[in-house]
């Protein structure tokens, strides 16, 4: 089943999710993500799925957590203000190891900011928006086609590692229409179910995610956001239980970084002038590199966990590094960890729905 369609990124992400096996969606509309919800409402019932318009984002995130424990691959979509409201629930999902996909179609913030204008200012929030020691996965597509392809990947990662995955889009990708080939999923990952006497919240090797029971099938399980042992029993006093739990939750993601972390190189792979970018901003970056030559584009697909060793390796020997962002600068802090600030050039632009143009990146490359 391969279909060639003309879709917005928001529409593409819906078909990707459905092809990944998503069968539950709860959400609350917000520009520029609402089309995801509209299309989900139409398409999910056709494949036997369930769609719910929640009363707000808090309800939405908690509904998809419940649906996930009931055995369905679940998703919600929102934008900055709604994403802020969902943080508590996302933290709970990390602690309870609940597979979810949360789509954040970024707009200019903070607060209500500019609802219809694209931005990339939620990067740090996607990684660090919750309190406590919590680790999840953040993936960023750069085209509507990738909104389709990579959301399938996002579901696979969520299922494989029992973790919420933030799918970080922006208004340009969400509302921009392009050709999208609906090619179906190459592979689908399904969460592992526990056999008898297998604990649902622990494993000897922290890199191996524990199996997840499906509520309603007779497996007695306690699901709590409080510190718990491998059987789910609360322990809100002891050091051991807490330390073991949070280090395992971290190691479950960072210990698998070689499998999770993905990036792609465009332009001249040996060039010593390098652009580091993510999301829609990579497109003018690739264009700029092609126009001037002698430039490599290092495009991060996985934004969290971020493999700093790989980043350092790719940037070693670089004479100049340019970091374009539709924000006042967030990715720049990652680059600064492995590359001297004085040789770095930034291109920051946000608000008004104005993209970064290749000419601006070229100017920074040649400055």
């Amino acid at each position: 089943m391969t279909e060639r369609l003309f879709l917005s990124g928001n529409e593409a992400v819906v078909y990707g999710a459905i092809d990944a096996g998503c069968r539950f969606y709860a959400g609350y509309p917000i520009t520029p993500s609402s089309e995801i919800m509209h299309l989900m409402a139409k398409e999910l019932p056709r494949v036997g799925g369930v769609f719910i318009q929640a009363e707000d984002e808090l309800a939405a995130i908690n509904m998809i957590i419940g649906a996930s424990w009931a055995g369905l691959k679940s998703m919600t979509a929102t934008s900055g203000p709604g994403f802020s409201l969902m943080q508590e629930g996302i933290g709970y999902a990390v602690m309870t190891e609940t597979p979810l996909v949360i789509v954040d179609v970024m707009r200019a913030g903070p607060a209500t900011g500019q609802a219809t204008k694209s931005a990339q200012g939620d990067l740090m929030q996607a990684r660090w928006g919750r309190h406590g020691d919590q680790y999840l996965v953040v993936i960023a597509p750069m085209t509507p086609q990738e909104a389709y392809d990579l959301v399938i990947e996002a579901f696979n990662i969520a299922e494989a590692y029992r973790v919420p995955v933030v799918f970080l889009m922006d208004e340009f990708i969400g509302h921009g229409r392009e050709i999208v080939v609906r090619r179906g999923a190459d592979k689908l990952v399904e969460r592992r179910r526990p056999s008898d006497h297998e604990p649902p919240f622990g494993s000897k090797d922290p890199r191996i995610p524990p199996p997840m029971p499906r509520l309603g099938e007779g497996y007695y399980v306690l699901v709590t956001g409080s510190t718990h042992n491998e059987w789910g029993y609360r322990d809100v006093h002891g050091f051991e239980t807490h330390y073991r739990l949070v280090t395992r939750l971290k190691e479950k993601i960072w210990g698998n970084i070689d499998k999770i972390f993905k990036y792609k190189v465009y332009g001249d792979p040996d060039a010593r002038r390098i652009i580091v970018c993510f999301g829609s901003t990579c497109r003018p970056a690739i264009d700029a590199a092609e126009r001037v030559g002698g430039t490599k584009v290092l495009r991060l697909i996985t934004l969290w966990p971020l493999n700093y060793d790989k980043l350092a390796e790719e940037l070693s020997g670089a004479e100049k590094v340019v970091v374009p962002e539709l924000s006042l600068g967030q990715l720049v802090y990652d680059v600064a960890q492995v590359y001297p600030r004085n040789k770095m050039r930034v291109v920051n632009k946000v608000g008004g729905g104005i993209p970064i143009y290749p000419s601006e990146i070229i100017k920074a490359l040649e400055a």
Binding site: F6, F172, R177, E178, G352, G353, Y357
Partner: protein, 163 residues
């Protein structure tokens, strides 16, 4: 560029060029307000895959509202063929003034000014088979009669002006 159904016009053009077999990227910049002219929509198309849809220089630009022209002066300045409404937009350097709104009003299709603009752009683009596919696309949407009439007025206007 304007605020009279510009995003819809861009959607129709994008869908049309997609059906004609091109690689297409259709983008827009719009606001949260229901009224106002600070909206633009554009389409990039090519026989090859589109690397970057974020461009400053448009081959063809039709301006229907002064607000848009003012806000996006950089795009207006860098665009090549500029058509603007002679009554709704202040004179644009190197642009061609046309009685777009006047003609639309005369033919009772003022509500579909966006389609008149689309007709003008289509005529200038001169892509083979474009009119037939625009017709097909419009048939699948609401207000077909009104839209197609307005589109044809646009074609005629551009034809008369010999651009």
């Amino acid at each position: 560029m304007g605020g009279q159904g510009i995003v819809f016009a861009a959607t129709v053009l994008g869908e049309t060029l997609y059906r004609l077999g091109y690689y297409v990227a259709q983008l827009q910049n719009y606001g949260a307000s229901v009224r106002g002219g600070a909206v633009y929509g554009y389409v990039v198309f090519d026989e090859d895959e589109i690397v970057n849809p974020f461009i400053e220089e448009l081959e063809v630009l039709v301006i229907l509202h002064e607000q848009g022209r003012r806000r996006w002066e950089n795009i207006v300045r860098k665009s090549r063929k500029i058509i603007y409404d002679k009554d709704l937009v202040k004179p644009v350097k190197n642009g061609i003034a046309m009685p777009i709104a006047e003609e639309a009003d005369k033919h009772g299709v003022y509500r579909a000014l966006n389609m008149v603009a689309l007709g003008i752009a289509s005529r200038i683009l001169g892509v083979k088979g474009i009119d037939k596919v625009v017709d097909e696309v419009l048939r699948s949407r609401k207000n077909y009669e009104l839209n197609i009439n307005a589109y044809e007025i646009g074609l005629e206007l551009a034809g008369r002006a010999r651009i």
